[in-house]
């Protein structure tokens, strides 16, 4: 409870309390307009229907938690949004870009799509042969055309923000899982995304290390970042995200304000899932 107030207060204070040291802070569009919109999105692997007719809007500054049993399509949904997994049909709209998934899509469009999206993976996927600093700087130089010095400056600011400036010149293997995930978050933030996608960011971590990652995500949420978080962390879903969506069998079972969805689910399938989660 007290924690909720905290988030609310931080949000009221400023859009970015710690200040993302980004060169091009994207101007916030009018709050009513969705940053991400999915229309009738479907995806199948062979005969397996992974996503069925998904419709979803995520507003600027919204934090959406996606929960649900394994194999329900949560991760596939995230991976479709940034085109790691091309959807079969439907429409993905991110900012001003709108892509029809049933038609062939050009490389530049995928690039434009991904430029607006930061992705954090369950298994961190840092580049093991680069220092922490290099991990965060590389894509800034390659895709945003920043100089090495500019990129490193941005990187140091972000590493500071996730509390790991002292690890800048280490290699990832010297860092704990929680630290690696925070570095991965910094790496994604370095490209000034409009939306951050998190694919079970704490599932590979023990509970204590998970907490430090969740703390960073909470800070990010309170700074006004739009986030979609696939997670099993019910605490995060209930306390940090405005909205929660429950998925099963490639469909949206429930969607709404987090507390309502989690405390008072309407469908039997969602109740069963939440009961299983709470019984643990």
């Amino acid at each position: 409870m007290a924690y909720d107030l905290d988030v609310a207060r931080m949000k009221a204070l400023s859009p970015s309390p710690l200040g993302a040291p980004s060169a091009s802070g994207s101007p916030a569009p009018e709050p009513s307009r969705p940053v991400i919109k999915l229309d009738h999105l479907s995806k199948s692997f062979g005969t397996f229907q992974a996503l069925q007719d998904i419709n979803l809007s995520v507003l600027q500054g919204d934090v959406l938690a996606i929960i649900g049993p394994s194999g329900s399509g949560k991760s596939t949904l995230l991976r479709c949004i940034n085109w790691l997994e091309p959807a079969n049909s439907g429409r993905i709209t991110v900012g001003d870009l709108s892509l029809d998934c049933s038609k062939p899509v050009g490389k530049e469009q995928i690039t434009t799509l991904r430029r607006q999206l930061g992705m954090v993976f369950q298994s961190f996927n840092l580049f093991p042969h680069m220092t922490v600093l290099r991990n965060v700087s590389l894509a800034q130089e390659r895709t945003l055309g920043r100089s090495r010095r500019e990129a490193d400056e941005v990187s140091m600011g972000l590493l500071e923000r996730v509390g790991l400036a002292d690890k800048a010149h280490q290699y990832p293997v010297r860092c704990s899982g929680g630290q690696q995930q925070r570095i991965a978050i910094a790496r994604a933030l370095a490209l000034d995304p409009k939306v951050m996608l998190f694919d079970e960011p704490t599932s590979a971590l023990d509970p204590e290390l998970g907490l430090e990652v969740l703390a960073v995500m909470r800070e990010l949420a309170s700074s006004g970042m739009t986030m979609i978080v696939v997670t099993h962390e019910m605490g995060f879903a209930e306390n940090v995200s405005e909205h929660t969506m429950i998925m099963a069998d490639g469909q949206i079972l429930e969607y709404g304000p987090s507390r309502e969805v989690i405390r008072n689910p309407q469908t039997e399938r969602a109740r069963r899932f939440l009961r299983a989660v709470n019984d643990r």
């Binding site: 991904r114 996927n125 580049f127 093991p128 042969h129 590389l138 290699y171 293997v173 010297r174």
Partner: protein, 214 residues
Amino acid sequence: MTWGHLVHIAYGIPLTLALTGGAFFVGAVLGFPIMLLRESSFMPLKVAMIAIIAFIRALPPILWVFLLYFGIGTGLINLSPFVAAVAAFGIIAAVNMAEIYRGGMVSISAGQWEAAHALNLSRLSIWRDVMAPQMVRVALPPSATYVIGLMKDSAIASTIGVAELAYRGKQVSQMSFEGLLPFTVVGACYIALSLPVAWLSRTAERKLRAKVAR
């Protein structure tokens, strides 16, 4: 056997090195595109490459040397024995290096590709910045083993008259009417040449691993 004989054998060292180095260079360069074709998602191409690689590896090296020197080198275009030998060993090295590179690529987790794509890195950057440096680490030890094997195989070039170590060993044994000593000297040369390769590879591997291993 005289000092003169010893010097005569020693003159074979540069040629053995050039043969090995040349063939390895050809293989290391050609191996990469061959690996990419072998990993192509276009099935007919992939199957064709698998067949070609299996075919090249199936024939004994001496046959490739003869094919190139007597088959092509004297009939179609004029190839010197040295060039024919480098080409023959280069072809064999290329398919073997392709397999070594493939091992390096397979060892890189799918997550590395996904992260690179999610970060919007270009295809060139993915290969240059992310994949190649990781592949090199994995491919280095088997490559060093392969170079040493290639150097020993290069003795086959003596059969078409390339005056490398084995060829000169045979010459000296015929000149001095001795069998044991000249070939022992040749053997010692091969050992002496492989040691630095093995040492270099170990050192490089240790340096590269130290950074990324726990």
